[in-house]
């Protein structure tokens, strides 16, 4: 099966239709799920809801129908701040500081596991 949009002979494929950016009346929320106790919450998707309470209820129905979650967080998408992917390398210097990695130190075999 394919989800590509078929273009019938003689029909024009207007690829622009519905792809312009726009605003949404209900705010968007990002959903984070803790799969089980002891694990961190992990981002799983988003949804729209009028307020936090209904966002939580919708998140429960949409993302945890098979007991996937021991805990749920919802956060307004507009409250999430992130580096631009283009700029991220400027902040990630780990690759230049290999002395931070345990594997860069030579310990003789006789010493055993360290």
């Amino acid at each position: 099966m394919t989800y590509e949009v078929p273009v019938a002979p003689g029909e024009s494929a207007n690829i622009d239709e519905g792809t312009e950016l726009s605003a949404e009346p209900w705010p968007m929320w990002e959903v984070f799920v803790r799969a089980q106790r002891g694990l961190s919450h992990v981002h799983i998707g988003s949804l729209h809801a009028a307020d936090a309470e209904s966002a939580l209820q919708n998140a429960r129905d949409v993302y945890t129908r098979r007991g996937e979650g021991a805990s749920l967080w919802v956060v307004r998408s507009s409250e999430i701040h992130a580096f631009d992917p283009e700029d991220i390398s400027e902040y990630v210097e780990a690759n230049e500081k290999v002395y931070r990695l345990a594997t860069t130190y030579d310990i003789p075999d006789e010493v055993g596991q360290m």
Binding site: M1, A8, W26, G45, L47, H48, V62
Partner: protein
């Protein structure tokens, strides 16, 4: 490295493109259209099956069918969520569906006439969907690929419950087996049409393969589906309605007959048996739910006012 080069490198390395990354405008638009059509298909796909919830033969089957239809709604939501990471919103996509400007999979424009259709949809329609969606878990766009992983896990339940319905019918009295055969006769060809036009007539294939939105061609996926399904039909003791269907030792695949492409295009263009009903029902459900959406907004505003005061 220019943004274009970075994008090409990410795609070439089988890495995922994420929403905040630079991407070619045509890549973004192609994905919005495809993910929207996929989401609409899940949502409209609730109707043919919803038609049988009140008439399911047992309470157990009714509970299963409700869970399945609820999953389809969930799949639609995961997909709209993936589309929204590309900068559109779901109300806008839905509006285009209501206006008939957006399409959904043509398979949902066929009616569900008997209980055996519910089994056959699970087996063939969800089976075809899995064939495609397993491929899409390897799609280059991260949010779409991740939505597919979740969906594929749930589709397995859909296909198995459908096949189990058919096993029961085929082990039952002759009338029940005949009902199963009739359903297969009606759903076989539309299921093969789900894979889209031949590769030679497919407008999007080449670019989509290059961008790794699509990993396997329509004809290859269709062949994979036929090869997988034939032994399953044999097990049921049902006959696939294609006189040209036979194993080809040399190719290591089944040969099969030509699809009626006139029918395919007629349904795509809106002239299938159920096209009008499906959209009418969808618009009606949306309009009748308006008060719920308005009430939720009003309630949220009232509560926010209280907290502020």
């Amino acid at each position: 490295m220019s943004p274009e080069d970075r994008f090409d490198a990410v795609v070439a390395a089988e890495d995922k493109v994420e929403p905040a990354d630079w991407m070619p405008e045509q890549y973004r638009k192609t994905l919005i259209r495809q993910i929207a059509q996929h989401a609409h298909s899940e949502v409209i796909g609730m109707q043919p099956e919803g038609n049988w919830i009140a008439r399911a033969p047992t309470l157990h089957r009714k509970a299963i069918l409700m869970a399945k239809v609820q999953d389809e709604a969930g799949h639609g939501l995961y997909l709209y969520s993936a589309a929204e990471t590309l900068g559109v919103d779901r109300d806008q996509l839905q509006e285009l569906l209501h206006q008939g400007k957006h399409k959904y999979s043509s398979i949902f424009n066929y009616p569900t006439l008997s209980w055996a259709d519910i089994g056959t949809i699970g087996w063939l329609v969800d089976g075809a969907a899995i064939t495609n969606q397993v491929m899409l878990t390897r799609c280059s766009f991260g949010p779409y690929a991740r939505a597919m992983v979740r969906i594929c896990k749930e589709e397995s339940f859909h296909q198995r419950q459908g096949y189990e319905i058919l096993i029961r019918l085929c082990q039952g009295p002759a009338e029940q087996k005949a009902m199963a055969q009739d359903a297969l006769d009606r759903w076989w060809w539309p299921s093969l049409m789900m894979f889209g036009p031949h590769d030679t007539d497919s407008t999007h294939t080449e670019q989509s393969m290059q961008w790794k939105i699509k990993r396997v061609s329509n004809d290859d996926l269709r062949q994979q589906f036929v090869d997988m399904t034939v032994p399953q039909a044999d097990y049921l003791g049902l006959t696939i309605p294609d006189p040209d269907l036979r194993w080809n030792e040399e190719r290591g695949h089944h040969d099969f007959g030509e699809i009626d492409w006139d029918e395919f295009w007629a349904v795509v263009k809106g002239n299938g048996p159920m096209n009008r009903d499906r959209i009418e029902h969808k618009v009606k459900a949306w309009e009748e739910g308006a008060w719920v959406r308005e009430a939720a907004t009003a309630h949220a505003a009232k509560k926010a006012g209280r907290t502020a005061a």
